[in-house]
Structure formats: C-alpha cells, structure tokens
C-alpha cells in the first residue's frame, strides 16, 4: 500500500501520525472519541433521511402508487428537499404556550434517541463506550424519551396535543415494562449486561442466535418496540383521524423536523437493538458451517461468512422494512386494545418465558446451561 502513494503523501501521513502521538493522552482519546461519535451521528442521520424516502417508496408500491420520483434520479433527492423546506419554514410558538418547554420538548425526544448509540457495538471493536451496564443504559435512555412527547403535549396548551400526550404516556409506560422483562430474558441467556458480550454469546451461526430459544420474547420485544416508537398500528398519540396530529399539532418548521428525526432515529435504534439482542448483531448467520468456511478469504463473497458492520446493517434494514410494512398493512389499534395487549398479554408472556428459562438453566438445558451452577 505504502509504495503506491507518492513519497510526499507518505511523509505527510507520517508527520501527522507523529504529531498525533506526541499529543497528551487525553487529547488523543478525546479526538478519537469525537470522530467515532461524529461517524455514528452522521450515519444515523443519513439512514433516517433515506428511510423516509424508502418508507414512501415501500408504502407507495404496496398501494400500487409510484411514490416520490420528482427530485433527483428516482426521487432520491426527496429527503433533502423535505429538510430544506422544513428548515426555511417559520416556527410558530402558540401565544399561550409554555415557551421554554415548548422549545426544549423536541430536543428532549431527540437526545435520548441519539445518546443510546453510545453503547451500541457496530462490530467487534467499534463501540463508543464499552460499558458493563450497557443494556440498563439502553433501557434507561429509551424510557426518558417519553418526556419529549408529554411535554410537547402539555406545553402546546391545546386539547388535541394534551390528549395525544396522555395516550402516549400511558402506552409507553405499559410497553416499557414488557420490553424490560423481555430484555431480562436476553441478559439471562447472554449472561452479561454488556451489549458486545451479548452479541458474542450468539456467535457461531444462525442456530446460536437467541431468536429461536427466545422466540416469544423476540415477538414481545419487537412489537413493544413498535409501540414505543409510536408507529402504526400503535400511533394513537398522533391519531390523525381523531386528534389531528396529536402531540405535535402546533409544531412547525425545524421543531417539527426534530420530532420527525427523533421518531425515525428511534425506529433505527429499535431495529438495531432487536438485531443485537435476538439476531446476533454483527455476527454472520453462516458462521460455523464447515462447507462455507473456505469462502472467508475471498474479497467480497467472504463478507458473507465473516461478521461485521454489514450484517448489522442488513438486519437493521429488515426490521426497518417491517416498520413500513406494518404501517401499510394494519389499521390503527383501538386504545383499550393497546392497553390490553400490553398489560394482559405481553407481560404475562414474558414472565412465563423468564420462568421457563430459569427452569431450563436449573436443569442445564439449552443456551442457559452455563447459568445453572
């Protein structure tokens, strides 16, 4: 590689490295972490931008329409056109609103959605903060996200917004419990709260994923995730047909754009988390198959067998697609049905499955054999 580059480039790189390593250690650490954060942030925002485009394309084709096709080739410029439109619109603050809370509410819903990425391992080594209590951190931050919605509903000083906020608060509190219990099952199987360790416990191909032994918990986690992000069919917080637009009815321009960004960032987050907890994160499904092992050395096909960021991305895309699919397929749930599903179906299912896991660990069966001791 080095002899392909002209001499002065090599000199420059060496000089740069020398300067970097001569800096104090905390400056080096700060620089590297800042770049890591920037990379994840930009990647998430780009994924969000294009998932709005794909959502419209997917739903469009499901409803036999074309979807966006005017801006740029195949309409790919549509997300940027939308963002620019929202940025140059006026932000209207209602006269009798609580101004400070009205402004900070969108930020409160966006910050947890982005901050959770700090503990998410993108591959074997790329994680911003490899902390031991990663799973708890994820749970704590996802539960904080509800404040944005509630405060937006209250600060707007509008009945529709308040109704949306109320619905959203009750729904998120209900589904958070089921989500937490489902994750208890995951941490029992993984034997760790560290997300990287949980993924490493699932390495070795499709059969080692928690998807099969924890299938009920997977379903509970995924459906609760859809409910937590306030997406269809659980989008009563917005409920266009009843309460106009719910909690963000008075938001316009940039403030609305931030809510939008937070919702999609949360979707990407839940998709990635589901992939990490149940589908082996960055691990490849074809690991551990002897007849595929020789492929590992080949440049592009080898990626099939070796784990890495690309597998996490593919798994995330599958879940993002199902988000869109749900929205195109299911009618909105009635409010009492949402509550019933959360409290009377999901929570008992998770508790039963945790008990099953405990019994199986006691008798040293399945992936929990190590816990029995």
């Amino acid at each position: 590689m080095a002899d392909l580059m002209p001499q002065f480039v090599v000199n420059w790189v060496n000089w740069g490295m020398g300067v970097f390593y001569s800096l104090p250690e905390w400056v080096q650490y700060l620089t590297i972490t800042t770049w890591k954060i920037l990379f994840v942030l930009i990647a998430v925002i780009l994924i969000v931008a294009f998932s709005t485009y794909f959502e419209r394309k997917v739903i469009g084709s499901m409803q036999a329409r074309v979807g966006p096709n005017r801006v740029g080739p195949l309409g790919l410029g549509q997300p940027f056109a939308d963002v620019i439109k929202l940025l140059i619109k006026e932000v209207v603050v209602p006269a009798k609103s609580s101004r400070f809370l009205f402004v900070i509410a969108p930020l409160l819903s966006l910050i947890p959605a982005l901050a959770t990425w700090a503990v998410i391992p993108l591959n074997d080594w790329y994680v911003i903060a490899d902390i031991n209590a990663g799973l708890l951190y994820v749970l704590a931050l996802t539960s904080v996200g509800v404040y944005g919605v509630i405060l937006a509903g209250w600060a707007t000083n509008s009945k529709y917004a308040l109704l949306g906020a109320m619905r959203s608060a009750a729904q998120i509190v209900a589904y958070e419990i089921a989500m937490g219990f489902a994750l208890v099952g995951v941490l029992m199987a993984g034997g760790s709260l560290n997300l990287g360790e949980i993924v490493r416990a699932q390495e070795g191909g499709f059969s080692q994923w928690f998807l099969l032994p924890l299938f009920p918990l997977f379903v509970v986690y995924w459906v609760s995730g859809v409910a937590e992000t306030n997406r269809a069919p659980f989008d009563v917080a917005e409920g266009e047909s009843e309460i106009v637009a719910g909690f963000h009815v008075e938001y316009s321009g940039v403030a609305f754009a931030i809510f939008f960004l937070a919702e999609y960032a949360n979707m990407v987050l839940i998709s990635t988390l589901t992939a990490i907890f149940f589908l082996g994160g960055w691990a490849s499904p074809f690991e551990g198959l002897a007849f595929l092992a020789p492929l590992a050395g080949i440049p592009v096909i080898g990626l099939l067998v070796t784990g890495g960021l690309h597998w996490l991305f593919i798994k995330m895309c599958i879940f993002m697609y199902t988000f869109f699919w749900f929205r195109a397929t299911f009618p909105r749930y009635r409010y009492d049905q949402i509550m019933r599903l959360g409290w009377k179906v999901f929570i008992p299912v998770t508790i039963v499955w945790i008990a099953v896991e405990g019994v199986m660990a006691w008798f040293q069966v399945g992936p929990w054999a190590g816990l029995g001791g």
Binding site: L136, Y147, A169
Partner: protein, 200 residues
C-alpha cells in the same frame, strides 16, 4: 482535582434544581425540576462508581415514576395562588424536617468518618469488577429475605391500591374481549348477490 470540580458543579445544579422544585409556581415545572434533580443524583452516583444504582435511578424514577407524576399533575388544574399560600404555611414544618435530616446526616458522616483519614477517597476497584454483579451477589444471598419481603410488600401495595380504587358501578358496560375476538364476518355481514338492474 478535575473530579472535584465536576462534583461541585453537578452538586450545585442538583441543589438548584431541588430549590426549583419548591419555588417554581407551576406544578409541571416543579416536576421537571424534580426530574433534573434525579438526573443529577444519578450523575453523582456515577461519579462514585455506583453505575448500577445510577442507571436504575434514571430507569425507575425518571423513566417511570416521574412520568406518572407528570401524568397526574398535568391533569390537575393549576392554581398558582393556592400554591403560593401553601408555601408560606408549610415553610416552618419543612425547615424543621430539613434541619432534622441535616442533623442526622452530619451524625452519620461523623460516625462513619471516625478512623478514616487521608484524602484518598474510594478504594480503587479491581480489574474486571462489575458493579451489577457485585450487587446481585450480595442482594440474592446475604440479603435475600429482606429483598423478598420488600418485593411482597410492593405487591401488597399494588393489590391494595387496585382494590381501593376499583369501583363496581351497576350498569357498567364492559367489552367482552373473547366475544369480540371470536366474531366472524358471516355473523355480521350478509353478502347479497343481485342481478344488475336495467336502465329505465
């Protein structure tokens, strides 16, 4: 040095937020100040390397308890005048309780501080130490009875709260979910085949 600067900064925010809970006139603002207070205490716990307790504080209090608080407070009608009168009326009692707590804390710190010398702070944690694991190991072995009794008391409180608030009114219409689910289309809709009518 850097640590103590951070500590005093966060402690200052914590105290400011706690004062905000008492002095802000709007109950919703009070609740938000309380959320900030909890967050800052979690940060202080993180600085003391009690990351499990810190994250659980955020998860339980900020994520669940305060959401329900906010839920209730938002439903209340905001009466600023009444709240202001309450502040002056309960101030002596509040100050009394605060002084008592300060006295107790000082006693406790003084008692624990005996025989502790130097400014080294906490003992360094060994490599590979997990706060969560250490806590679990103690909680489920040494203190398992206290832990389970606490769990039973909480369960009792839940059941008591539900029985106290559940009213059985006569003539209440409830949905029979079983009946709703078992409905089939042919019970409700009759499709009639008709010949096309001729134009007049």
């Amino acid at each position: 040095m850097f640590q103590s600067v951070l500590f005093y900064l966060f402690a200052l925010i914590l105290l400011g937020a706690a004062c905000g809970v008492v002095f802000s006139r709007n109950p919703v603002h009070s609740v938000m100040f309380l959320v900030l207070t909890f967050f800052q205490s979690a940060v202080l716990w993180l600085m003391a390397e009690a990351e499990f307790l810190a994250i659980v504080l955020v998860l339980v209090y900020v994520g669940a308890v305060m959401v329900l608080f906010l839920f209730v407070v938002m439903m209340l009608e905001v009466k600023i005048e009444a709240a202001k009168r309450g502040l002056t009326r309960y101030a002596p009692l509040g100050i009394g309780i605060a002084l008592l707590m300060v006295f107790e804390l000082v006693q406790l710190i003084w008692l624990r501080g005996q025989g502790f010398s130097g400014t080294s702070g906490f003992a360094a944690t060994p490599e590979g130490y997990s706060n969560t694991k250490a806590l679990g190991a103690v909680l489920y072995t040494e203190h398992v009875y206290a832990f389970e009794i606490a769990a039973v008391i909480l369960l009792l409180a839940i059941i008591a709260a539900i029985t106290l608030t559940m009213r059985k009114r006569p003539g209440l219409k409830v949905q029979d979910i079983g009946a709703q689910v078992s409905v089939r289309a042919k019970d409700r809709v009759r499709i009639v085949k008709m010949d096309a009518e001729k134009k007049q």
